[in-house]
């Protein structure tokens, strides 16, 4: 089961907690996360379900390519890391 982890910045704003979920794609994995932590969805995805402009999703150290439909594949032992894109404060 892929491991999903979050930037501490997000954890400070929400109750985001690292978790293992079922999923063959980034989208499936995140939907499984949202099933457990529904309040997280709007922090990561925009109204149309795409990754927010200032959020980055890494799979095994590489930023995902499909930020709109989240179709990048993940392996059972993948690590998905979600962080904020660097931008001004």
């Amino acid at each position: 089961m892929p491991l999903v982890e979050f930037t501490p910045n997000l954890a400070s704003q929400t109750s985001a907690q690292a978790c293992r979920v079922e999923g063959a794609t980034v989208g499936e994995s995140l939907q499984a996360v949202f099933a457990k932590q529904p309040g997280l969805r709007s922090y990561l995805l925009d109204d149309q379900g795409a990754v927010r402009h200032h959020v980055v999703v890494f799979v095994d150290g590489a930023a995902i390519k499909d930020r709109r439909t989240l179709s990048d594949s993940v392996q059972p032992d993948s690590e998905i890391f979600i962080m904020q894109a660097l931008s001004g404060g």
């Binding site: 910045n9 922090y43 149309q48």
Partner: protein
């Protein structure tokens, strides 16, 4: 008079309270996070805050204790864009207008006879309505789907936005709103249907022949008199206007002293002939005239405008007062004003004199009295 004032700023919410020693910052919330809009709802004493995270989007939080504690509530969300729906392109830049919440730009309570109704205006131009006190929101598609939306465009922001929502105290189903840039709109049935108005408005910045196009007007802010809602004052990009028929037709005033450009307007709640503005140098400059900050008041229905300067900095003062940063209390005498450079002033004599509460706050985005207090 109101004794609690709420500020939404670039770095959080600040509650300011009056005690025996005057007005003081009492507490803050969401420190470090943008709070573009607040709504103290006099009907149930709830305080709603739009909290805009730089990375994680906008959320709405609600407090039952004037901002001491908060609970995250539902946030307006644009519905999935229907498959095959063509993009609306910004008429100026020919780029697609987003179907996403970019910013909450106005929050208003429904009428006293409709508890639970809240209105939310957004960038990129969607209006949302809640009928359950903010537990859920729905896009008002009757306005979003109007073909005229294709003519709306952004002003200071990239996309058009609804910044002013005036619910008629006599008839809660009648709501007038203003869009920058997209003119003045009215519903008489609680948002089921809409018509736009604007006779008399002139957008000098438009190409020749299009200056009076109602859809291209840039009202920076409108405010209606509480006891005479047919009187609506407007700070327009190109000047000051007043309507006597609820926003259908407008009279222009070119006699602003020292200027007719600005963003904010506040109308006396009981005296429709009295309104306050904060004039500045148009329009790329956006600074006080001669670096001297003043509030401008008319008390004679626009025949004259007088600059009010007592207590305001008059040398090298480059404060900009955003459109939501001037508010008047229900008593009609207490006013508050916040600036982009983190100053907040209070007047307790209708603007004749001002006292600065702080010059150290973050840039101020909105200023609102608790009107039930």
């Amino acid at each position: 008079m109101s004794t609690t004032l709420h500020l939404g700023t670039r770095k959080g919410h600040f509650a300011i309270e009056k005690n025996g020693k005057g007005w003081k910052v009492a507490h803050s919330s969401f420190l470090g996070v943008q709070v573009p809009m607040l709504l103290p709802d006099a009907r149930d004493s709830k305080l709603h805050a739009a909290v805009e995270h730089g990375h994680f989007g906008t959320k709405i939080h609600t407090s039952s204790d004037s901002g001491a504690t908060w609970e995250e509530r539902a946030c307006p969300t644009y519905p999935p864009k229907p498959e095959g729906t063509p993009d609306i392109l910004c008429p100026m830049r020919q780029t697609p207008v987003p179907w996403n919440l970019e910013k909450i730009w106005s929050l208003e309570a429904g009428g006293a006879d409709e508890p639970g109704v809240l209105w939310c205006g957004t960038i990129p131009g969607g209006l949302f309505k809640s009928t359950d006190g903010g537990a859920s929101w729905n896009l008002v598609e009757s306005l979003w789907n109007r073909p005229e939306r294709a003519k709306w465009f952004g002003g200071g922001y990239d996309w058009p936005g609804i910044h002013s929502i005036c619910v008629d105290p006599r008839n809660s189903k009648r709501v007038v709103l203003a869009i920058s840039c997209g003119g003045v709109w009215e519903t008489l049935d609680g948002g089921e249907t809409w018509d736009r108005y604007g006779k008399g408005l002139v957008a000098d910045f438009m190409p020749p022949g299009q200056e009076e196009d109602w859809d291209s007007q840039d009202p920076h802010r409108i405010d209606a008199c509480v006891t005479d809602p047919n009187t609506v004052w407007m700070q327009h990009h190109c000047g000051i206007y007043r309507s006597k028929d609820g926003g259908h037709t407008w009279q222009r005033f070119d006699n602003g002293n020292p200027a007719v450009f600005g963003f904010a307007v506040a109308v006396h709640p009981q005296k429709p002939e009295t309104a306050w503005f904060v004039p500045g140098v148009k329009d790329e400059m956006r600074v006080p005239v001669d670096g001297a900050l003043c509030v401008m008041r008319t008390q004679d229905d626009g025949k004259t405008f007088e600059p009010l300067r007592k207590g305001l900095p008059q040398e090298h003062a480059y404060h900009l007062i955003y459109r939501h940063c001037l508010d008047v209390s229900p008593d009609g005498r207490t006013l508050a004003m916040g600036s982009t450079t983190g100053s907040v002033w209070i007047s307790e004599d209708s603007g004749d004199s001002w006292t600065r509460l702080s010059a150290e706050l973050p840039p101020v985005f909105c200023v609102r009295f608790e009107k039930g207090s």
